[in-house]
Symmetry: C2
Subunit: 388 residues, 2 copies
């Protein structure tokens, strides 16, 4: 049954190879001081930095730079950014980069005017913001997380060995996001395929929940089919505009609440993957890819009907002459073949996980209750061991 | 290729069997004077009118009533509503009803503070609003048009024998819409199935355009599959909540711009159907159902690949041993069987069309250029004759 929900997506998306032309009009809606957040400087190499600074300057903005956002943004970096945003009284935070930079910018947006420690308030205590929120806009350069069109913001605390995602409400969604597929052409293949699996897993995390038959499930199946086809094309030819543009839009739709509407959703793969990320600093999408097959094999008996449907509707498995279990297993097998094909099938060992980390990963894994089976600590360990 | 687009859906949707509980909070965002628009009074029989008036009264609103919105709202009725809305300086127009009432309310919202004749400005000249727009909210009671989540507003001018839809921008979208599937249970089956075909045709109008392979196409296929399944269930048991809730949400997603993003879109079936509606006052969805099969058979050779894909992806036609044309034709045949099954397959004669009206219908049909074939006047006549 399609459960009760509220749909509200306040992000305006400008999409396509002319999308950056819209930045000027968007900037006009905000005040003078723009906090410009970005990562390690790859946007300087590609020339995007100069283009953005040019547009900001032409628009008469005062630019305050906040570079050096790392792939897994830390609580300390969050504190630094929040302090700066408050000091300069930023009117807009403009995030230029991938999911890490945008996640980080949203975390800063709720933290700048917060009088408590933001890690404690928003991550350990998971509270909602009750202070002024600075508006965020984004120019996306790397595809996968969907951060450009949702309220999610993952922050890592290396001292506490925790990587936690807070999913804020629609007041924290970026006010606008600029999505130009051409800006993603320069992303290294390794990161592109990690993003492809990240978005695919966002869809399965929502699809593998509930025993209903509703609109969100059918949309999820359509999105998965497109990610599979477009992923194949993108790996063969990273400058295939059709494939890259489909993937860019798929990623946004995979995690902008649309396909979660009316569903309980699972997210256990992300919980395990984030616990791995907290200890290894491994690329997010690869941590998901490493543990997803073992996790889905473990929970398959508890949601057999849905795994059978996944096999038939998403992977075109012919059920004739097969038991439900055989059909379901064939679906997971085809998913793994596709993961091999796009080059995202790595195990935890390859990501730097060693046996002595496993207990800490288990400890750092949040246990979710929306999926087909609530894991025990022992089962998390089983999944990890099967993924080494 | 996924063409360039801007995505912006400012409507907040409250969905489910408790959705009306959200009306109070929504009302708090607007001023005191609420123009309450509704149709022929069926909401009084069902008790919905009393519930709404109770909520408005509790919220301290001053209610100005604007009842009597007809199934095909007329230009004269629009003028009447615009005058009233301006006289009382309405802060919000609350539309309670189906697509006609919501369409009408949006047309009033842009017309109240317009100093020209709204039919001339917005329909004959198709201009954009450049005056104050009164916000609209909706409580939906009949499913199909998708008006609850878009900027479309169809108005009929019986004297001029014209029924024209103006698709306004996101500033005209309802600010909020209350979607409670239970409120649709009392809709007569004849109107329910007309709505089901209306939403299905909204999807095909967008799907049958372009030769690309993009996200919007995959989402459209998922939506169509859900409409087909849910439509069957709803006809067997109109109080099947899962089916009715799926259909309610499908209808909104079918026409809220989502599956049109990056596509040229066609809309020729709607143009012919609206021309039929201008002369007969027939139910909108039935006019579409009457002409759609003949229209799609006519354009099939020009978009054969897409019609083949429609057959395979939406109707599960097995292509083995068949020519592309045979596969494509089998898809249309299955669509017709489904239309028979849900009881929406009527011809134009049954809708009151007589031979002597055909010339006027051809004259009143706008010719669209986004589909697989641009019709000639003779071809429109052929479609009409084949649909009698």
């Amino acid at each position: 049954m399609l459960g009760n929900f509220t749909f509200s997506i306040p992000t305006r998306v400008h999409f396509g190879d002319k999308a950056l032309d819209s930045l000027k009009d968007e900037l006009a809606r905000f005040g003078e001081t723009v906090l410009l957040t970005y990562g390690g400087g790859s946007i300087k190499k590609t020339g995007l930095y100069d283009r953005i600074v040019g547009i900001l300057t032409d628009a008469g903005k005062e630019i305050v730079e906040l570079p050096g956002v790392m792939p897994n943004p830390t609580a300390d970096k969050l504190r630094e950014g929040a302090k700066l945003a408050r000091e300069v009284s930023a009117d807009l935070i403009l995030a230029v980069g991938g999911g890490s930079v945008i996640d980080y910018s949203k975390a800063v947006s709720v933290s700048a005017w917060c009088d408590e420690d933001p890690w404690d308030k928003y991550y350990l205590r998971m509270e909602d913001p009750d202070n002024k929120i600075i508006p965020v806009g984004s120019v996306l350069t790397m595809v996968g997380t969907g951060s450009e069109m949702n309220g999610g913001a993952v922050i890592t605390n290396p001292e506490q060995k925790l990587k936690i995602g807070h999913v804020f409400g629609d007041e924290v969604f970026p006010k606008f996001s600029i999505l130009d597929p051409v800006l993603t052409f320069t992303v290294p293949e390794r990161q592109m395929v990690a993003g492809i699996f990240d978005m695919f897993n966002h869809i399965t995390e929502q699809y593998f929940s509930g025993d209903d038959d509703n609109t969100s499930d059918y949309l999820a199946e359509g999105l998965m089919r497109n990610v599979i086809v477009s992923g194949r094309h993108a790996v063969k030819d990273p400058e295939n505009y059709e494939a890259r543009s489909n993937l860019m839009w798929d990623a946004s739709l995979a995690l902008n609440t649309l396909i979660a509407l009316g569903k309980s959703t699972d997210w256990e793969v992300h919980m395990i993957g984030q616990a791995v990320g907290a200890l290894t600093d491994a690329t997010h999408g690869l941590t998901l890819a490493a543990v997803a097959p073992a996790y889905y094999r473990l929970i398959m008996p508890f949601g057999l009907e849905r795994f059978k449907r996944f096999a038939e509707h998403v992977w075109d498995v012919d059920p004739a002459g097969k038991t439900d279990k055989e059909v379901a297993e064939e679906g997971i097998r085809r998913m793994e073949e596709w993961m091999q094909e796009i080059g995202v099938a790595k195990n935890l060992t390859e990501l730097g996980v060693t046996e002595d980390m496993l207990d800490d990963i288990v400890k750092g894994t949040f246990i979710m209750e929306g999926g087909y089976h609530v894991l025990t600590k022992d089962e998390i360990l089983d999944v990890l061991k099967a993924s080494m």
